[in-house]
Symmetry: C2
Subunit: 187 residues, 2 copies
C-alpha cells in the first residue's frame, strides 16, 4: 500500500538526563519551540560537541529530560568530529561513540552516547493500526525528482507519535528534500 508522509529533517541534537543537564547548566532548561512529536521541544540551551578531530558549536538540547544521554549526529558531522558512531534507533546507546559536551559551565565526556539515528517513521498506535504495521517494521520511502531513490526506514510507534518521517541532513541533501516535503510511504 502507498501512503503520503511528511518529512521532518533532524539536525544534530542532544537528549540528556536531568543529572547530566545540571552538570552543564545552572538554570533549568527553557523551551524554544515545540516539536511535532507531542510533548517534545527544542530548548534555548546549546553546547559545543567535540570529538578527536573537531567540534561543532550551538548543538541544541531537546526536552524533556530522558533516562539516558544521547547525541544524534549525521555521518557528515561524524567525519568532521573524527567519530565513527553506529546507526541506531533512539535509546540504543550501548557501545555507541564517546563524545564530549562543552558548556560555559563545564566540559563532560559521555562514554556511550553518540549515534547516527536510523531513518524512522513516527506514528501513534492508532495510525499504526490503520496502516497495519508493527513497531520496528521495515518500510520504504519513495522520493521523486532529480535525486530520486527509495530509502529503507523503520516504523516507530509511540503514544505521543505524530505521523512524520525523520531523516537527517545527509539523507535530505542526498534526496533533495526539505522540511515538510511530502513523500510516498510504501508498506
Amino acid at each position: 500500500m502507498n501512503y503520503k508522509v511528511k518529512v521532518g529533517i533532524s539536525n544534530h541534537h542532544i537528549h540528556l538526563t536531568e543529572e547530566t543537564y545540571y552538570q552543564l547548566f545552572d538554570k533549568e532548561p527553557s523551551k524554544r519551540n515545540d516539536l511535532n512529536q507531542i510533548g517534545e521541544y527544542a530548548c534555548n540551551e546549546t553546547v559545543t560537541i567535540k570529538g578527536p578531530k573537531g567540534s561543532i558549536p550551538n548543538v541544541r538540547i531537546m526536552g524533556p529530560f530522558r533516562s539516558y544521554n544521547q547525541v544524534e549526529i549525521s555521518r557528515s558531522d561524524a567525519f568532521l568530529l573524527g567519530l565513527n558512531p553506529p546507526v541506531r534507533k533512539s535509546g540504543q546507546i550501548a557501545n555507541s561513540a564517546t563524545i564530549t559536551l562543552i558548556s560555559s559551565k563545564n566540559t563532560i565526556t559521555l562514554e556511550e552516547a553518540c549515534i547516527i539515528a536510523n531513518r524512522h517513521v513516527h506514528m501513534n498506535p492508532l495510525t499504526a493500526e490503520k496502516l497495519n504495521v508493527v513497531d520496528n517494521q521495515l518500510v520504504k520511502l519513495a522520493i521523486k525528482g532529480d535525486k530520486s531513490c527509495i530509502l529503507d526506514a523503520y516504523v516507530k510507534i509511540s503514544a505521543n507519535g505524530y505521523f512524520e518521517t525523520h531523516l537527517d541532513f545527509d539523507d535530505a541533501n542526498a534526496c533533495g528534500l526539505k522540511n515538510n516535503d511530502e513523500i510516498d510511504l510504501i508498506i
Copy 2:
C-alpha cells in the same frame, strides 16, 4: 540483471577552460594524481569558491582543460555557500548557478557554472554493450547495510570511461558508503 560496481565518491571540484585557468593562475597546471577515468587527473592547484552566504577553501581543479567551466558541489556545500544549483549531468551548465572563484592571482565570477552532478555510472562503449545499456539510461544502485536504499543513477558512456559509480558526499554519507565500496547495479 544484477552487476557489481565500485563507488567513487566525488568531493566538490572544478573543471575549467584553458582561458579561465590562466585568469586564475600564472603557471601551467601540475598533476597531483590520476583519476580512474582514463586521462583525467586532479591538479595541485586549488581555489576558494564563494557564494552569497559563505565560501569553501581548497577546492581542487581537475585536468585536462574542458570547453566549459563547471563547478560541481553537493547540496550541503550549496547551503553553506547560499546557492541553489540544479542537479545536472556534466556539461549541461545552461542556467546553472553563478559562483565566484578566488585564487591568489585573481577573483572571477562564472555566471553559469555551478551544478550538483547527477548520480552516474561511468563505462566505456564495450562495457555498455555487455550490459546492454545506452547513454543516459536510468539504472538503479542497491545499497545494503544499516542505511540501505536504492538510488536512481544514469549511465554515462565515454571512450575513456572506467566502470564505476560516481556519487557525491551527500549520497555517500546518506548510504554509509566509502570509496571503492562495491554495490549492486540493477539494470
